[in-house]
């Protein structure tokens, strides 16, 4: 693969991977670091990349591995220094979310953060990365049905919670 094509692919995927990291790690700085690390990993291992899997699938797999690794590391750190957690959650309050006038969006952000990791990764890849379900299933190496049911439960949870909070009108 020549470097021009490679650069193009990275340019195309950088934002998507960043958004994935941001949503999974819930922290802008962490996501920035993670995205850099992910692409450095891609850079280091580009020679071992074979055309068996598509390039984007390969990048997403590296990204998810790294994100889960970061999450584990962070949760260990938080367990070691319980004080750090409070500081972190304060920092986690994304400045953008404060600017939302709509109550709806604030609760949606909370809702998305409260999804289980499996549901969340599918949700983020579907909405933030705009991948088709088939591709998501390929990346996660799961059945299409499993991916779709993860998505369905995530959406059902969002719907129920929004209805319970009376943020959208619903039928009795």
């Amino acid at each position: 693969m020549d470097s021009n094509r490679l650069n193009q692919l990275i340019e195309e995927n950088y934002q998507k991977i960043f958004l994935l990291a941001l949503k999974m790690l819930k922290n802008y700085e962490d996501a920035e670091d993670a995205t850099q690390d992910i692409f450095l990993k891609v850079y280091e291992n580009i020679n071992s990349f074979r055309k068996e899997a598509k390039f984007t699938t390969w990048i997403y797999r590296i990204a998810l591995n790294h994100i889960y690794y970061m999450n584990n590391k962070r949760s260990k750190e938080i367990n070691q220094f319980p004080g750090a957690h409070e500081m972190r959650t304060e920092m986690n309050a994304n400045p953008s979310s404060l600017l939302h006038e709509k109550e709806l969006f604030v609760s949606l952000e909370k809702l998305i953060n409260s999804l289980s990791p499996r549901q969340k990764e599918v949700f983020v890849m579907r909405y933030y990365n705009q991948l088709p379900f088939k591709k998501i299933a390929q990346i996660l190496q799961k059945n299409l049905g499993t991916v779709k049911s993860n998505y369905f439960f995530a959406m059902q949870k969002i719907k129920k919670d929004l209805q319970n909070q009376n943020l959208i009108e619903f039928r009795e």
Binding site: S3, F18, T35, I46, S96, L108, Y127, M155, I168, R171
Partner: protein, 193 residues
């Protein structure tokens, strides 16, 4: 037709169904108000989510990453191995390793096959060859077994040592040719009846 499953409704909204299924659902939606309402609710949710995501993406701009893409410019070209290594190395290596393993198995395996033994018997001027492929040890054991049996059985020992073999031989020697023939005939008659 009964009402549509929620997950199928979601598939319908996400355009994940075959055209045939889509048609079937569309016709059902024309008839069923309940499903129409349900679809409307789900569509509303999906729209709100999409709106939120678009907003969120706008609010989180991509961090600068030019230094990363620059790295890829200086990526060293992958060195290709010579033609013969790419196409021949693996099969040749495989053949040799299989040969090596076969030889090792041949050398390591124990040889328990006993050497066959041939005994010659001459009976009535005809030579019989008996091939014995038992191990020597086994034959020795067999011999001692028989000897032991002979020593333990006094009658047998007596017969062998002082048996009337000589007597019978002498009797047979004394017989004339005709008498001998008669005896043989009688023996055959006895054996037949």
């Amino acid at each position: 037709m009964k009402c549509i499953d929620k997950n199928i409704l979601l598939d319908y909204l996400n355009d994940e169904l075959s055209s045939q299924k889509k048609k079937r659902i569309a016709t059902h939606l024309l008839e069923c108000e309940h499903c129409r309402e349900e679809l409307k609710e789900w569509k509303n949710i999906l729209d709100i989510t999409q709106e939120f995501v678009d907003q969120d993406v706008k609010n989180n701009p991509v961090p600068p990453h030019a230094h990363i893409t620059q790295r890829f410019d200086n990526l060293p070209q992958k060195q290709e191995k010579p033609f013969w290594i790419r196409f021949w190395a693996k099969p040749v290596l495989a053949t040799f390793s299989i040969l090596f393993i076969a030889l090792m198995i041949y050398f390591i395996s124990p040889r328990t096959l006993p050497e066959s033994k041939e005994n010659y018997y001459v009976i009535d001027n005809v030579t019989y060859t008996e091939t014995i492929s038992l191990s020597d040890g086994y034959l020795d054991n067999l011999e001692t077994m028989y000897l032991q049996e002979i020593y333990e059985n006094e009658d047998l020992t007596h017969d062998i040592l002082y048996g009337d073999w000589q007597y019978y031989e002498e009797v047979l020697d004394d017989l004339s040719q005709e008498e001998l023939q008669e005896l043989i005939d009688k023996m055959y008659d006895n054996s037949v009846t």
